[in-house]
């Protein structure tokens, strides 16, 4: 996925899909650099962390009851 940021046409398509046509027109270098950063994969996860581990914030329906 990170290679996508090196292809100007892919960056243009992604930027337009995200509603960034104006930003792309005014600041093409900024959008290209942003695509590189945003599409860069995360570093290697620590041992034991996989795609089926729970994320840090866990949905808790009880929270909404106790809010008010």
């Amino acid at each position: 996925m990170s290679d996508a940021s090196k292809n100007p046409e892919t960056v243009r398509l992604l930027a337009e899909r995200h509603g960034l046509s104006k930003a792309l027109k005014l600041f093409p270098d900024g959008v290209k650099a942003a695509a590189e950063r945003g599409l860069k994969p995360l570093g290697e996860l620590p041992k034991g962390t996989t795609s089926i581990n729970s994320p840090a914030p866990i949905f808790n329906p009880a929270r909404f009851v106790s809010e008010k």
Binding site: R37, L45, A56
Partner: protein
């Protein structure tokens, strides 16, 4: 009364309580000083002189009647312009928010009002608490009182500048990846990022949802603990605040370090990244001093700094973009270039990458908690490098992630930046002290012991004060 510019909160509170100093006198002296020197430092966006004098007068009357509310009663402070104050714009230092008007006070502002504190005004920041010191915004960037040409740190840049220049004894900041501790580091002051949930975020314009923290900024550790107490506590309007009593950070503040176990996260600045030799020398001397003060010290290892950075930045990018998406799409030209460049990457972060960053965050939090099982505190660097020139956006962008602060936004645990001295050319140096969740008392205790022994905090003695550029001499001097 001389020396009001660098009077500490603790000293001032005692003088106010015993009626040896009037809140009006203190406030007026600082307002005069702001008028005299701030055109050189741009710390304040708005000075609320009339309101400040009215609050100071009210405090004076109450104290005279024996109705002293506590150590913040009659004490002046400044607020980063990201906190709502009823009737005022919360500009976030942005053209986009120039016409905003807040309809109520942020929870912490209400708390400070109830404590009798005196608001001097709202201070500068990096636009929307991100980006950097920008010259393409309606207001100029705050300048570093130690050297106007170097970066004052941010995003709570005005808070850091106001404190170092003796324009306020306390200031509110916010911290998502180090925005309280970075200006503390660059301006030679003390900045605390408390535990996530210890201080309410209600009425504070968000940068992210899960990494933002409100933090007290002062010139001394004791002042910071006093200020933290005035801010902390459960807020029914903010579901992220913890329903627990705020621990007493003053009780054991001066108990020393005998028996305290401290870990040093050395690999962050010796293996994972290249650090400035002056920063490294200063923290090494600090570690020796901590041992001499009675602490047991050992080196510990966590995941590499780059992994913590990836985790923080991915969450930061995704959450901040969710907040600013419409403006980035419709009026990108209205942001400063530095801000726009920080917000745009969020458009390209996939949902899967964001979830993986949250999974990584869980793993890193568990790792830190495990490391802290037989420790009371850890120390590591704050900034890896010295502050660059304020007018060099390329250097600002390049050095943005060269820091160890964002680690403790990932864990949500308390971390304080304290001064460790100066380079030969007078640039402030600093380190962080961090602790377990809700163990602010231990973090303050270690910080107090170190700063007291090292004598590195800005003080009234004049030895550790910046040489300021002033147009006239004021009563505060």
């Amino acid at each position: 009364m001389t020396g009001l510019a660098y009077l500490t909160v603790a000293e001032g509170a005692e003088l106010l309580r015993t009626r040896k100093l009037s809140p009006v006198e203190w406030t007026r002296a600082l307002l005069e000083r702001i008028t005299s020197i701030d055109s050189n430092y741009n710390a304040f966006l708005v000075v609320t002189a009339d309101k400040a004098l009215a609050q100071a007068k009210a405090a004076e009357v109450e104290i005279a009647k024996g109705q002293w509310r506590g150590p913040m009663h009659g004490v002046p402070y400044a607020a980063k312009d990201i906190f709502d104050i009823e009737g005022m714009a919360t500009t976030c230092h942005s053209k986009i928010r120039k016409d905003h008007r807040a309809t109520s006070d942020a929870f912490v502002v209400k708390k400070l009002h109830e404590a009798g504190a005196v608001l001097l005004g709202k201070v500068a920041l990096h636009e929307f608490a991100t980006g950097g010191p920008a010259f393409d915004l309606p207001w100029p960037p705050a300048r570093n009182p130690w050297n106007r040409d170097i970066h004052p740190g941010g995003s709570s840049s005005g808070s850091g500048a106001a404190l170092a220049a003796g324009m306020a004894p306390a200031a509110l900041g916010t911290d998502t990846g180090g925005s309280v501790r970075n200006p503390a580091t660059c301006c030679g002051i003390v900045g605390m990022k408390p535990t996530y949930g210890a201080v309410s975020l209600a009425g504070v314009f968000p940068l992210t949802y899960s990494l933002d923290h409100v933090g007290p900024m002062t010139r001394t550790v004791e002042d910071n603990a006093i200020f933290f107490h005035a801010l902390a506590g459960h807020d029914p309007e903010d579901p992220t605040t913890a329903k627990r009593e705020t621990p007493d950070c003053l009780k054991d503040l001066k108990s020393g370090l005998k028996g305290v176990r401290i870990g040093v996260i050395e690999h962050f600045y010796k293996e994972d990244a290249e650090a400035d030799p002056d920063q490294v020398r200063a923290i090494e001397q600090a570690v020796v001093l901590l041992q001499q003060l009675g602490a047991s010290v050992k080196t510990i290892r966590l995941s590499p700094l780059a992994l913590w950075t990836d985790c923080n930045r991915t969450i930061h990018q995704a959450e901040s973009y969710a907040i600013h998406e419409r403006d980035v799409q419709e009026r990108p030209e209205d942001f400063a270039a530095l801000t726009r460049n920080r917000l745009l990457p969020g458009a390209f972060v996939s949902a899967a990458k964001y979830i993986r960053a949250q999974q990584l965050r869980g793993a890193l939090c568990r790792e830190f908690a495990e490391a802290m099982r037989d420790l009371d505190a850890v120390v590591t660097l704050s900034s890896l490098l010295l502050p660059c020139r304020i007018d060099d956006p390329a250097a600002i962008a390049r050095t943005y992630d060269q820091q160890c602060r964002l680690v403790f936004n990932v864990t949500g645990t308390p971390a304080i930046s304290v001064p460790t001295g100066f380079t030969d050319s007078g640039v402030p140096l600093a380190m962080q002290i961090a602790g377990r969740a809700f163990d602010e008392p231990m973090v303050y205790r270690v910080a107090q012991a170190y700063c007291e022994a090292a004598g590195t905090c800005i003080g009234a003695d004049g030895k550790t004060q910046p040489r300021l550029v002033a147009t006239t001499r004021t009563a505060a001097e």
